[in-house]
């Protein structure tokens, strides 16, 4: 960058310092608190907190829920991005807004709507009870609430990317005689894979970390329907602050791993990503 195209050094330093202060104050310090509290009583206590049977079953449940919710949203996200980005049709803005809606719905409401549907007093409650099916206060309810909350993540990531790429390559492939799946796997997927991975990573992080919505539908049965974030709350409410922060640090670590993975993707394939954008 030519010197004339940037600010005076003092302005550069001031702006950088201000940005640094914001990151420190709002982002880095809370993270630091989590780890310092978790390790306040030493590594042994930390290890014991994480090997508690209830905590382990909470971690297992969280992984199970994510393993169902994330692939579902992956398929949905690709399908939604395909029809929104590659085609024009009336009502597209409304469709996109509806896909985005779970982003801004209060987590409490996200849980509540499923209670209204599947709760004993809800629409399907009597039918479910008659067939001895349990949705709310069991794993299916937790999965549904998680799918709802993470619904837009993959689609949101892919739609702008695929829109910028346009349809030229796909059209060429079709003209050359490729079938629909061939077009997707040979032409589109290579172009969007890193955006897709980024979306999946964020979707996964959010799926494992969701608290509000899951709290409404979980029933809080120890060792059965308690997810990892709920376990943090339980430990916190038992005055077991070190263990609470230890489990929290695990979730924070997951977030960090996500961020590192994302950075690696951007660093290694940044050129490719940028090239995609310029198409």
């Amino acid at each position: 960058m030519k010197p004339s195209l940037t600010e005076a050094p003092w302005a550069r330093y001031a702006l950088t310092a201000a940005a640094l202060a914001i990151v420190l104050l709002f982002l880095a310090l809370p993270l630091f608190v989590v780890f310092s509290e978790a390790l306040a009583k030493g590594v042994a206590v930390y290890g014991r907190a994480l090997s508690d049977p209830d905590t382990l079953s909470a971690i297992r449940l969280t992984l199970t829920v994510a393993a169902i919710a994330v692939p579902f949203n992956l398929v949905f996200g690709v399908a939604a991005a395909w029809c929104v980005a590659k085609f024009d049709f009336p009502g597209k803005s409304i469709l996109v807004s509806l896909i985005d809606l779970p982003f801004s719905v209060s987590p409490v409401v996200s849980g509540l709507v499923y209670v209204l549907l599947f709760g004993a007093q809800g629409w399907f409650g009597p039918w479910l009870a008659a067939h001895h099916l349990q949705v709310i206060f069991a794993v299916p309810g937790i999965v549904l609430a998680t799918v709802f909350v993470t619904f837009p993540f993959v689609a949101r990531e892919l739609i702008p990317l695929m829109e910028e790429q346009g349809t030229d390559e796909e059209e060429a492939a079709v003209v050359l005689g490729a079938g629909p799946w061939q077009v997707f796997f040979r032409v589109t997927l290579p172009n969007i894979k890193w955006g897709l991975l980024y979306g999946v990573l964020l979707c996964n992080a959010r799926a494992m970390g969701e608290f509000g919505a899951v709290s409404v539908v979980s029933g809080h049965i120890r060792g059965l329907t308690v997810t990892t974030p709920l376990q943090v709350e339980i430990l916190y409410n038992e005055y077991n602050f070190t263990a609470a922060f230890a489990v929290a640090s695990l979730l924070a670590l997951l977030g960090l791993v996500t961020l590192v993975a994302k950075s690696v993707v951007e660093w290694r394939f940044g050129g490719e990503l940028a090239a995609n954008r310029r198409h």
Partner: protein, 332 residues
Amino acid sequence: MFWRLFLLFLALSAVTPAQAETALLNVSYDPTRELYQDVNQAFARVWKDKTGETVRINQSHGGSGKQARSVIDGLEADVVTLALAYDIDAIADKSGLLARDWQRRLPENATPYTSTIVFLVRKGNPKHIRDWDDLVQPDVQIITPNPKTSGGARWNYLAAWGHALAKSGNDEGKARDFLTRLYRNVPVLDSGARGATTTFVQRGIGDVLLAWENEAILAVEELGKDQFDLVVPSLSILAEPPVALVDKVVDKHGTRAVAEAYLRFLFSPEGQELGARHHYRPRDAAVAARHGGQFPAVRLVTIDQLGGWQKIQQIHFSDGGVFDQIAGSMKQ
């Protein structure tokens, strides 16, 4: 590789314990976590000796109102052990899962242990808080949760109400005035009893915490003997957290016998002893005598003297009720 990992975890999660044993679900309120952990173990042993059956008791804890709502919405609790009778009444009314006379089906108002409301103050009691009237001094900060969301907070509120009525010779206007002044001194209104304790103890906010006696003793033991003092007011309330069998659920699960035995166990000498060890006031006179030192004598008003839950709920805690009017004046 990502997916293979996921599948591995999925496989792991499928390895759940065999369901050959009988399982009960006890849906309870916040401060009973430690108590029922011990009770569940003791009962499982007793039941095994008696019948040879292995029983596992699952626990769910949360705010009393929230837990009752979960049961109404379909959380399949075999037994409920909540903070106040009103919440179990609500389950009976709104879902019909248990009979409305549930409170007469077990001894002692279906309440195996009682408790009362006491004050927790900072070490040395720097603000000289001895009784209710000291709470409404302008420089005192009180921590108590929101009575609309917390069962414990409703007992706090009603204990103060009972005191104000007794002092003013049943003048409701004066009592209301007293509560208004009291809540004006509340800087944080947590949604549950445990949250309020954390605010007071961990965050160092407030001069006095209104709490269940068992919670206050536990907080002192768990969080610092040399940091807090317990103050027992001259008059408080007889807090009765009741227990009940959820008929339709136990019939569906086929667990009536064991659930019934579980609740009866709470009234047995062994169950009473466990309660006393967790700082609940036992009903059994012999057990109470053994733990007498822990539970100072207090003049106690009862819920029925204040009009019973239905009436209290209607007047004080419904939307636009007395508490809402008081809360309206909380913004100084």
